[in-house]
């Protein structure tokens, strides 16, 4: 069984991938099978998300059992989780109380986290030249400052046309070149990794 299971897993991965891929090239013949397999994958992904949340609850439940009342964070997390689920079951995902919970707890915290990030990024910009700067560090900082200068009209100064034009040029020419190269590189790497999975060389699912 120890030998059969890994081989069976590889066969399942390769077969399902090939069927989906063939649906792109021969939609008339394999389109239906592709649609069925995609439908199964969507439902399984939903179950995976559900089990992930269940596992999160179990982990924190075990933490509470082992550490007791010392771990107040796990207690707070589980209480908020249970309350949200109970309210959501009765109110629905778009019900009044569900939206109230969402807008009262989730939105302020997420926006505030991003606001803290602004301070952290500014501090990082200050410290950027604190270490031995190299040519790409200086180029990076110069690009950041130019883009910021050209994004908005400066306070008490107003919009500086050359800076705005430079900012536009930076965003539309060199940045696009680099971004296109990055996207192509990512796509090529994705294709290579996918092909490795489809030929059974890579088995990220284990076994």
């Amino acid at each position: 069984m120890k030998r059969i299971l890994p081989i069976a897993n590889a066969i399942i991965a390769v077969a399902s991938g090939l069927l989906v891929l063939l649906g792109y090239f021969f939609p008339g013949i394999f389109g239906g099978i592709q649609s069925i397999l995609i439908g199964w994958a969507i439902v399984i992904a939903a179950f995976a998300l559900l089990f992930g949340i269940f596992n999160l609850a179990m982990v924190h439940w075990k933490k509470i059992n082992t550490e007791g009342q010392n771990n107040i964070y796990s207690i707070v997390l589980l209480i908020s989780l249970i309350i949200t689920i109970v309210v959501g079951i009765f109110s629905g995902p778009t019900g009044t109380w569900s939206l109230w919970l969402f807008n009262t707890f989730q939105v302020p915290v997420e926006v505030s986290l991003l606001a803290v990030l602004a301070v952290v990024l500014a501090y990082a910009g200050v410290r950027l030249l604190g270490r031995r700067p190299k040519w790409y560090t200086i180029l990076f900082l110069a690009t950041v400052l130019l883009v910021l200068l050209g994004s908005v009209p400066l306070f008490l100064i107003g919009e500086i046309a050359p800076l705005s034009a430079l900012r536009s040029w930076l965003s539309q020419v060199p940045a696009v070149a680099g971004a296109r190269g990055l996207l192509l590189g990512v796509a090529l790497g994705t294709v290579a990794t996918g092909i490795r999975i489809l030929i059974g060389t890579d088995r990220p699912y284990g076994g």
């Binding site: 301070v119 200050v126 400052l145 400066l154």
Partner: protein, 636 residues
């Protein structure tokens, strides 16, 4: 009955046992266990003086079926045979066990060479024996070596016999015998007398015998009480002559080489002195070699049959080793314990700088928000790429057109993107477009519902909420979900989030694939999500020339721009960030954002100053530090 003492372990055993019940040693030695019929042998023992020349004929072989007979040395057998010749039944027959013990004592006792009288007696007896055996006469001065030779011969034949050491020991043990009786016989009588009393141990017998022998030696000739069966035979008497002349022993034909080995009569074979002086050695007190000196100890404690010692498998650990083991265990336990992190100070240099930066950033914003000043105009659509095309695409939508809107952004970016989203939704609502809301993130439906309510309440200022939309819900699976949505939306989302079959009614009843929507607007802050939408949904839309529009954050705009600037374009319109939203609002005549743009302006200005000044200060400090380091290195 008298118990038999085991010669090996010294423990008492019942008389009827042949082997010891403790150590299983034979209790009755071979060759000396005389059956009742054979006990006449001992009554026929002739004295050596009485028969100097008579040759003893080997009498009838003693009838003994015992296996112990095989252990009897030949010379002794011959001796027995000679004793058997005019056999006269003895009146008394001592008990077999006594006989065996006496035989033991006979074996142990050797005539001492120092006794001149004894050799005189023994020599003749021995000579007669030897003559019978065909060995030849030996000189009287060499007769002291006879026992040694006989012992050696017995050893060669493998028979238990007397070694030279034993012989010499015996010689030392034997008290000076009477002129008529040999010492060994006297000792035998003495030992038998003692053992008859039943209180003697073999180990003790010899000790008792030894002093007895010593006393006898000291006293000289002494009358010793002789057992009856011995007494009947006087050593001074001549051995009984055989009634019938016995056929003489025909000497065997000796091979030439053996003949050559025979010592000549002229040669004086003097007995070699013992290699080792065993006169001071311990006397064996138990076992078959009782009375001998220099014997490898057969003490029960030495060769006592016992179970092999059981060694404990428990490791013997000394105190020092134990202490070292404890130390190692403590070291390993410390390694596994999580070490407490060193307490960090509450305020460090970094905390202070970060606090200063935060204050410098927040204060201008607070001032701008509080003052609500609107100093500058909003950004122009022409200055923001993609806004104009976006507006044109939306303007080109027919009234009531089904539009698919994907809410795939995080709530954290709502502050930046909500102005643009609200403006777009307001414009679409004004065109009475049928909005189908989908999402691939769990927070999408809540964001969509909240925004739709805000749009209905604020932007539209309508008496009733805008209802020309449906929330199709959440699509799990990421890339796979989008592929399924692109191929067949009603299969992936058969019902709306509130459980209605929206595909059965207008206008969605005409929708079979995603390309049937008039436009697809994706709202996302993540460049990867945007890329997946472009890769999976874009090709389907391009077949029908449907626009794919994006409302995105400033952070994702650089990575969506290559798709927007491609030829043919994969993204037909893009509204990015706060600037894009304000610029788009300017195209549709939407009012300003209540100081948002000004707050952003002042915050960016302050940020630039912070970064510039901070960078200059950092470079200065770095330069000073490196110079100081160089000076320190240059110093001797």
């Amino acid at each position: 009955m008298t118990e038999i003492t085991c010669p090996l372990c010294g423990k008492p055993n019942p008389p009827d046992r042949d082997v010891c019940q403790f150590c299983e040693a034979p209790l009755k030695t071979s060759g000396f266990i005389a059956s009742p019929d054979d006990q006449d042998i001992f009554t026929q023992i002739p004295t050596p003086s009485s028969q100097p020349d008579e040759s003893t004929e080997p009498g009838d072989q003693p009838e003994s079926t015992s296996s112990l007979e095989q252990a009897i040395p030949d010379w002794l057998k011959q001796t027995e045979a000679s004793f058997l010749q005019p056999s006269e039944p003895e009146s008394e027959e001592p008990a077999p066990d006594h006989i065996s013990e006496e035989i033991d004592s006979l074996l142990n006792l050797v005539p001492t060479p120092s006794d001149e009288q004894k050799p005189a007696i023994d020599d003749e007896w021995l000579a007669s024996l030897l003559a019978e055996a065909g060995v030849g006469e030996l000189a009287q001065e060499t007769l002291a070596a006879e026992p040694l030779q006989e012992a050696m011969e017995a050893e060669e034949t493998g028979e238990p016999g007397l070694t030279s050491e034993e012989l010499s020991e015996e010689e030392g043990l034997l008290p000076p015998a009477e002129l008529e009786k040999p010492e060994w016989l006297s000792d035998m009588e003495a030992s038998s007398t003692i053992k008859l009393e039943g209180g003697m141990q073999p180990s003790e017998s010899l000790h008792i015998e030894a002093p007895a022998e010593e006393k006898a030696e000291k006293k000289g000739a002494e009358q010793v009480e002789v057992p009856e069966w011995v007494g009947k035979t006087s050593f001074g008497e001549k051995p009984p002559t055989p009634k019938e002349p016995e056929t003489p022993i025909v000497p065997a034909e000796i091979p030439g080489w053996l003949e050559a080995l025979r010592p000549s009569r002229e040669e004086k074979v003097s007995p070699s002195k013992p290699v080792e002086d065993i006169s001071a050695a311990d006397i064996v007190t138990a076992g078959p070699l009782v009375g001998l000196r220099g014997v490898i100890s057969a003490h029960p404690s030495a060769i006592q049959a016992r179970k092999p010692p059981t060694y404990s498998i428990k490791l013997r650990v000394t105190e020092e080793q134990h202490a070292r083991v404890q130390m190692m265990e403590e070291l390993l336990a410390e390694e596994q314990k999580p070490k407490p992190l060193p307490s960090k100070p509450i305020l460090t240099y970094r905390h202070i700088i970060r606090l200063v930066v935060a204050v410098l950033l927040i204060l201008p914003i607070v001032w701008m928000v509080v003052s609500r000043s609107q100093q500058g105009p909003s950004p122009q659509p022409s200055n923001v790429p993609g806004v104009v095309e976006f507006a044109q695409q939306v303007q080109a939508l027919p009234a009531g057109a089904p539009v698919l809107i994907a809410f795939d952004y995080e709530p954290g970016f709502s502050g930046e993107m909500n102005p643009a989203i609200s403006t777009v939704l307001t414009q679409l609502a004004s065109k009475n477009a049928y909005l189908s809301l989908v999402t691939t993130t769990p927070s999408g439906p809540a964001l969509a519902e909240s925004l739709m309510k805000n749009v209905s309440a604020g932007a539209l200022a309508a008496s009733s909420a805008y209802s020309n939309y449906t929330d199709l819900g959440f699509i799990p699976g990421g890339t796979m979900g989008l592929l399924g949505l692109a191929a067949s939306p009603r299969t992936v989302l058969p019902y709306s989030l509130d459980g209605k079959d929206v595909w059965a009614s207008e206008p969605l009843n005409t929708i079979s694939s995603i390309a049937d929507f008039s436009a697809v607007i994706v709202i996302t802050n993540d460049p990867d999500t945007a890329r997946v939408w472009i890769e999976q949904v874009g090709p389907h839309l391009q077949t029908q020339d449907r626009p794919l529009l994006f409302i995105t954050s400033t952070q994702a705009e650089p990575l969506i721009r290559p798709y927007y600037q491609a030829a043919p374009s994969q993204v037909q319109g893009m509204v990015a960030g706060l600037a894009g939203g304000l610029a788009y609002g300017g195209t549709v005549g939407s009012p300003g954002q209540n100081g948002l743009w000004e707050a952003l302006s002042i915050s960016i200005t302050v940020s630039i100053l912070i970064i510039l000044i901070g960078s200059i200060v950092s470079v200065v400090f770095l330069t000073l530090a490196s110079n100081k380091k160089k000076e320190d290195e240059e110093r001797p």
